[in-house]
């Protein structure tokens, strides 16, 4: 399994262009990274600001997608530990760095290291708090910068040094010989860290963590309390399970959807979830619960249908090797990580599952509301079953859609177009820079839609980009979150776009479909809405056209706000 992750990881990052800039010698790190990535060959080191600021530098010619800036604080301070001077230097550096970012149209992503101040003079410094105080100056600037600039993220350099320990992370001899600050081991870890960040920028994270209950979320078996007391407490392995739950709760807060798939008597399990004094995870944390005696594969298929997600959105965590094997065989797209042998390994194993399958470069407001949205979705599915007809169901939902400003919500816009696979007509991907260009361009119109219904707010779920440069405007991208698929909302959206284009003086509109492995469900989208085929695209796919005034009447139950 680990190999598989590594392989898919490698595949998704292989062509990525990156740069590593530093004020110490990183040439060996660059050399190691070149095995897996296209890495900019820096002209020496210690000129990171110069390289960034000079528009004619080879760095800008190389145009890396992601730039890693690894700064040694001691070198930046030139060994000067006076707080006033240090503050000036750090603030000065950040001011210049930000200046460099604004000069360039800043199309790339930047990872900037957090602070670890190291130097032998600290060992003889009278003020034991000085190290922390100086690091804090850097951290404050870094936090502020990340808040202001969405394309700047933290490279967790500090924790890398902490895990390894100063004695193993730094090498005096290599520093003196060639300004290489870090031991070979630390350089290898830095490479791993950089590769992992690139992977996280490029991959599609999983969405749902499916959990078993007995001997997974707690020790022992529910419903047999008289014979085998449940292991979930403040001591021994009971605490190990409690800690596992704490990690899972934080995952949920970061936008991971939780589900239960467990063979138990429902009342027994629910009783524990609601009332056990040491439960960290309560019923409201789970978007979906399948507590019954059916096969787990069947339950997972039901969940996939209820949440309208593909099987590749799920991670299944279960202590029972037979259950894991069955899921691997029956639902090969579901990720099934190994289960740790010992209770003390539970929490760290879960943190690793988070890093491998769920970590994302940044968390948006949308992510934080996910559980609620998916739980509402499951309710919608159940209503569909009881509504009798599909039409009756759509009417009952009371869907309202509204256009929102794409510039103000550029993060969500980027996430939608780049991470949507199923309902994505062209699967065109945009870098942050390209998105900004599109938004600023006179020749493009960008639409972002928010959708809500009687169960709640679905959030911003659809994005459309129309190119007006040609004789006939073309929908160059149409992406919609799979959580609102199957409610004819896309029909209402396209019609809204058609009307807007018509109001701008165009009589016709074109749309493109470029097939991928995932977007088969929208293959017939344009023909279905009355568009006629007008051309085959050179890059594969089909272009369709409609005369807007002659569009057929579409059937949908969506109100425009």
């Amino acid at each position: 399994m680990a190999e598989l992750i590594q392989e898919t990881g490698k595949k998704c990052i292989e062509k990525t262009q990156i740069a590593v800039l530093s004020n110490v010698n990183m040439n060996f790190v660059i050399r190691m990274l070149q095995k897996d990535l296209a890495v900019y060959e820096a002209e020496g080191y210690g000129n990171e600001l110069g390289i960034l600021m000079n528009p004619a530098s080879s760095y800008h010619g190389f145009a890396p997608e992601i730039t890693f800036v690894v700064m040694d604080l001691m070198e930046l301070l030139a060994g000067e530990l006076e707080p006033g001077t240090a503050k000036d230097k750090i603030e000065g550096w950040f001011a210049q760095f930000e200046e460099a970012l604004s000069q360039k149209q800043e199309s790339g992503i930047f990872y900037l290291s957090d602070a670890y101040l190291w130097g032998v003079q600290l060992l003889v410094h009278a003020d034991a708090g000085r190290k922390f105080a100086l690091e804090q100056l850097w951290q404050e600037q870094l936090t502020e910068l990340c808040r202001r600039r969405k394309n700047v993220r933290v490279l967790p350099y500090r924790s890398l040094i902490e895990k390894l320990g100063e004695e193993n992370a730094f090498s005096m001899k290599m520093w003196y010989m060639g300004r290489i600050l870090h031991s070979n081991e630390a350089q290898k870890r830095l490479c791993e860290c950089i590769l992992d960040k690139v992977r996280i920028e490029k991959y599609v994270p999983k969405k749902v963590l499916l959990l078993d209950l007995d001997n997974t979320l707690w020790g022992g078996l529910a419903g047999e309390a008289d014979h085998t007391p449940l292991v979930l407490s403040e001591d021994h392995s009971g605490l190990a399970y409690k800690n596992l739950q704490r990690v899972i709760l934080y995952m949920q807060k970061q936008g991971v959807i939780l589900g239960i798939v467990s063979k138990n008597n429902r009342e027994d399990a629910e009783g524990i979830l609601k009332e056990h004094p040491h439960e960290v995870l309560r019923p409201e944390h789970f978007a979906v619960q399948k507590i019954n005696w059916k096969s787990k594969a069947e339950n997972i298929e039901e969940i996939a249908a209820e949440l309208n997600l593909g099987m590749d959105s799920f991670v299944f965590f279960d202590d029972n090797p037979a259950e894991r094997q069955l899921i691997k065989e029956l639902l090969p797209q579901v990720a099934v990580p190994d289960f740790p042998d010992k209770p003390e390994e539970l929490a760290p194993a879960m943190a690793e599952i988070y890093r491998t399958y769920f970590a994302r470069p940044f968390v948006t407001e949308e992510d934080l509301n996910k559980t609620r949205q998916y739980a509402e979705n499951a309710k919608r599915s159940r209503m569909k079953e009881s509504a009798g007809s599909f039409e009756g169901y759509l009417k009952q939902l009371g869907i309202v859609m509204k256009r929102v400003d794409p510039v103000e919500n550029v993060e969500r816009l980027t996430q939608l177009v780049n991470k949507t696979n199923q309902f994505n007509l062209t699967t065109k991907r945009y870098t942050q820079g390209q998105i900004r260009e599109v938004l600023a361009s006179e020749g493009k119109r960008v639409y972002l839609y928010q959708v809500s219904d009687c169960f709640g707010d679905n959030g911003q779920v659809a994005a459309v980009v129309v190119d007006l440069e040609g004789e006939v405007p073309v929908v160059e991208e149409f992406a919609m979150s799979c959580r609102v698929m199957g409610r004819n909302i896309e029909d209402a959206i396209l019609e809204d776009v058609e009307q807007d284009v018509q109001a701008a003086g165009y009589a016709r509109l074109r749309g493109r479909y470029v097939p991928t492995q995932k977007n088969q469900p929208v293959k017939e989208f344009y023909p279905h809405l009355g568009y006629g085929k007008c051309a085959d695209l050179a890059e594969g796919g089909t272009e369709y056209e409609i005369e807007i005034a002659k569009a057929p009447k579409r059937v949908y139950y969506v109100e425009k706000a």
């Binding site: 010698n25 290599m174 010989m177 060639g178 290489i180 031991s183 081991e185």
Partner: protein
């Protein structure tokens, strides 16, 4: 120890086993540039606990000298 040192150097330089011998001159090995040299000195210390004094490490020109300084 000699074999271990040679194997480690070959690994860092990414050259086939047998490329480096006791007779190798550093300047004859294309991959053995100044950066690789620093990595070799660092790795000898980290992995094999072989410490060659700083000034001497900088001036090494051959495997023969390196092995001598390493105490083999």
């Amino acid at each position: 120890m000699k074999e271990q040192i040679i194997a480690l150097i070959e690994e860092i330089l990414k050259v086939p086993a047998g490329t480096i011998t006791e007779e190798t001159q550093i300047e004859d090995v294309e991959q053995w540039d100044s950066l690789a040299h620093v990595m070799i000195i660092g790795e000898l210390e980290e992995k094999l606990k072989v410490s060659i004094p700083l000034e001497e490490a900088i001036e090494l020109t051959s495997m023969k000298e390196l092995l001598e300084k390493a105490g083999c």
